[in-house]
């Protein structure tokens, strides 16, 4: 079972064999993702509390978000998870060109998500809906509570977007490593682990979209 370190490709010196290394890396990424759940959890907690307290204002505020853009972004991310999963598959079977192709597709989709987000943020800025920076609300619901919604909206989607940007950085590194032929069917766990991270960022958005965008569905758009 114990292979020689000098002949096993990609094996770090402190591990006994490649299997142990892969196991450790995967467990490490899962543990990290759990910390991320707790990190986002604080904001979800705030959301739950104030949504319960200020239901009306939150619904009115949410109705002003463009749910079609949000839905499009959701589709973009889900699709990017598909391309990511395919990238992982091709790394497992050692098909370098397809691996790189699907990594690039994933990154394009991720960038698309960020562009749409940026467009949404820009329009919030134009509509004076950035909390704390000239916030103005003339519609239904107490402006203070609507501002609260938008604070939570920007905090959660903003931190999510930061994680997306980090994800793009990670994908860049993986792409470069793939180009250099670093991954083999025996050693490709960095791709798998990055895939885990990407799927996690996707799942967070899956929760954010309905909670933030779909509250005001029963209200006519303003």
């Amino acid at each position: 079972m114990a292979e020689s370190h000098s002949t096993t490709y990609g094996l770090a010196h402190h591990f006994d064999d490649i299997e142990q290394q892969r196991e450790a890396g995967t467990l490490g990424m899962w543990a990290f993702l759990i910390t991320e759940i707790l990190f986002f959890g604080g904001m979800f907690m705030a959301y739950i509390l104030y949504r319960a307290k200020f239901g009306d204002a939150f619904a009115a505020a949410s109705a002003h978000l463009d749910w079609k853009l949000g839905a499009a972004n959701t589709a973009v991310l889900i699709f990017s998870s598909l391309t990511m999963a395919l990238a992982v598959y091709y790394s497992q079977v050692g098909e370098r060109k397809k691996l790189m192709l699907f990594l690039v597709l994933t990154m394009i989709l991720g960038a698309t998500f960020l562009v749409v987000k940026g467009y949404e943020y820009y329009h919030k800025y134009l509509d004076n809906l950035i909390p704390g920076f000239g916030f103005q609300w003339g519609g239904h619901g107490d402006p203070k509570h609507v501002e609260m919604f938008y604070f939570i909206y920007f905090a959660m989607t903003g931190i999510h977007a930061l994680h997306m940007i980090v994800g793009l950085g990670i994908m860049t590194v993986i792409l470069i490593m793939s180009k250099r032929g670093r991954f083999t069917p025996e050693y490709h766990s960095p791709v798998e682990i990055s895939g885990l991270y990407w799927h996690f960022v996707d799942i967070v958005w899956i929760f954010l979209f309905p909670l933030l965008y779909l509250l005001g569905a029963h209200i006519h758009n303003q």
């Binding site: 402190h14 591990f15 450790a24 759990i34 707790l38 509570h145 609260m148």
Partner: protein, 546 residues
Amino acid sequence: MNIEVQEQPPRTHYLNATYGLKSWLLTKDHKRIALLYLASVTFFFALGGLFAVAIRVELLTPQGDMMQAETYNRVFTMHGVAMVFFFLIPAIPATLGNFLVPLMIGAKDLAFPKLNLLSWYIYNVGALLTLIAIVTGGVDTGWTFYTPYSTTYSNGNVLLSGVGIFITGFSSILTGLNFIVTIHTMRAPGLTWFRLPLFIWAHYAASLIMILGTPVVAITILLLAAERIAHVGIFDPALGGDPVLFQHLFWFYSHPAVYIMVLPAMGVISELIANMTRKNIFGYRFVAFSSLAIAVFGFLVWGHHMFVSTQSVYAGLVFSFLSYAVAVPSAVKVFNWTATLYKSSISYNTPMLYGFGFIGFFIIGGMTGLFLAALGVDVHVHDTYFVVAHFHYIMVGGTIMGYLGGLHFWWPKITGRMYPEGWARFAALVIFVGFNLTFFPQFLLGYMGMPRRYYAYPEEFQVLNVMSSAGASILGIGYVIPLIYFAWSMRYGPRASANPWGAFGLEWRTSSPPPPENFKETPIVTWEAYEFRPRHEAEVIDITRH
């Protein structure tokens, strides 16, 4: 099984295998990283200690005469911040834990050595920012940063110190992550979970808390910062927010945090008791599981810091009940350690003295915690010196005793040298006396009504305050003595053998100091934990041969 044991000190080991500043600052060796952390946490211990001196000198007189009230607020805040976030949380896990976890499980290093080094650098970045915050005026909110004072009214460096603490929190998360993965995946062949040293169980449980709790205080600090910068947010009642929400989010981490501080110390005590009495810990499995139980229950009791915060009485009831529940696994440990002593062969050396000290002080600290968990009593003593005394008994009387006991016990392993036993026992005695004199009067002061965080008090409290300050000076001397003889021992101390204590555990089956790769050959474990006496008649374990 063929493990080399040195007959004489090794010529090359992890300390001298490579030379130069870069070989230390860019090391991936967990043993060197542990020493890097040792330097950092010792610095912050000294800094926190200086602030403590300022507090105790001010409190010698009933009037506020040494400094202004606002200054005093900054002093006790900085004392708390330096001690809690930069000393107590990392002290045992990042120094002793980093050094010993791989050795105890027969591994060559932690699972992620580069991440380990990164965690030290992250610690230092956060530490530097906080130091800048301290030097440029400090913070006056208390280490608890309660809103709305911290978000709206304080003039101190709330943002800077908040960001510093936020960053250092990631050091804690990465350390915990490293430990969990290492313990799961890198145990030596034959080392099943229930053969693990209790030090490992304790660090595993503490690591669970580190990775689950720290992210919550991280986001809380970010939300605090956002509110302070943009004047919007979730804590300001004028905007529909709730300042008590901050307390909930803050204590959701900060209560489990105290178990991050104490669980590793308990792990040390288990090792000290087992090895200094040459007996398996009574009820090993109960002690192992109690670490996990403390970690789990520790997440359920945060509201006991908030009984008088406008939290509902019913919530208070539940938190009170659960706080009593969390004391049970801690008590299990104390009973089991004590039972281990029965018919054992006790060596009254310095590590054992610290072990005894821990048990005694932890009983007092723990019991007074239960007094505080009773709703009626807490209404009377909340925010008084009773609380201050309670947590210092646990953190200083508990964690620091464990830390010092562990440092002494593993010093020969870490440095290859023995410290002077006579001076060490003397210092332990000084610390014991100084500690009691400092903090016991504070129970009385609190019960009689002296509030915490006040720089002036009624005349009738002066005698007890003077006793406390006198004790603090004795305690300070007690801490300085080991600083001196540890440093002395690194040059002039007698060289230690692989196992000077005749102790059990894989770390004692490699040389003192260990080679960079820890073991010349990966050990294969065929014995139970602390098997000083063979389980089966036919088997005789000759520790000196293995």
